[in-house]
């Protein structure tokens, strides 16, 4: 907990110092960039990023406001919409990555070898998605 918190704080700090938005913005822009022209439905984003339904809803509103994504009505479901990244969204993603990637390299790559990183990923992977206890 301490380590992950420290790493996040350092990285968020670096982004803020560079006048860039928080990590959550990167996560969403990244997923949307991966999704391509087809975009994603908001409920698909919920599974991919570390945000709850209302978090996604509000973040998308901010991103749209800033022109980084666009919302399109979806023909076969009147309740929903499709969200697609814009070119200025792709640009923002690249600018965030310049800082984020450097932060990862500094905080992790410089401290652990490739084998160490693989080992760490493996151990953490075994803690993922613990079954829900009723």
């Amino acid at each position: 907990m301490r380590v992950s918190r420290q790493l996040v704080e350092r990285t968020e700090g670096a982004l803020k110092a560079g006048g860039l938005p928080p990590l959550a913005w990167y996560d969403v822009l990244h997923e949307l960039a991966e999704a391509g022209e087809g975009g994603l439905r908001p409920f698909e984003l919920i599974d991919r990023v570390l945000l709850a339904q209302y978090g996604v809803s509000r973040l998308l509103a901010r991103l749209e406001e800033d022109g980084l994504v666009e919302k399109l009505p979806v023909s076969d479901d009147g309740r929903g919409q499709t969200v697609r990244i814009t070119s200025s969204g792709r640009d923002m993603r690249r600018r965030i990555w310049a800082v984020y990637g450097a932060s990862i390299a500094e905080l992790m790559g410089d401290r652990l070898s490739a084998e160490d990183l693989e080992m760490l990923a493996g151990l953490l992977g075994r803690l993922r998605d613990p079954p829900v206890t009723d």
Copy 2:
């Protein structure tokens, strides 16, 4: 990031379900219990727990309100105070631990062997306290 977030969410959820306060309360009560009758100064807590100065200040106010800690003036420094855990604070700490400890056992102990845990702790330890980049 995903793993630590999931683990925290599960544990916080278990505490909430048991009508208990958040993990941060445990951290502070734990440190104060370790410190014994002498208590701790708020600024000493800042280094020990995952909270900023204002977070400690506000959490201590809540804990005092609930009678879990008491604030004592400190003779040789008129600016400060010493915070000491009360007996009902010790009691609350035990009740939180019953849930928190069980959560750790379920989410980590059941998934990783003792050697795995040691390995994980070692790897994470090497990521701790990265030097500040100016």
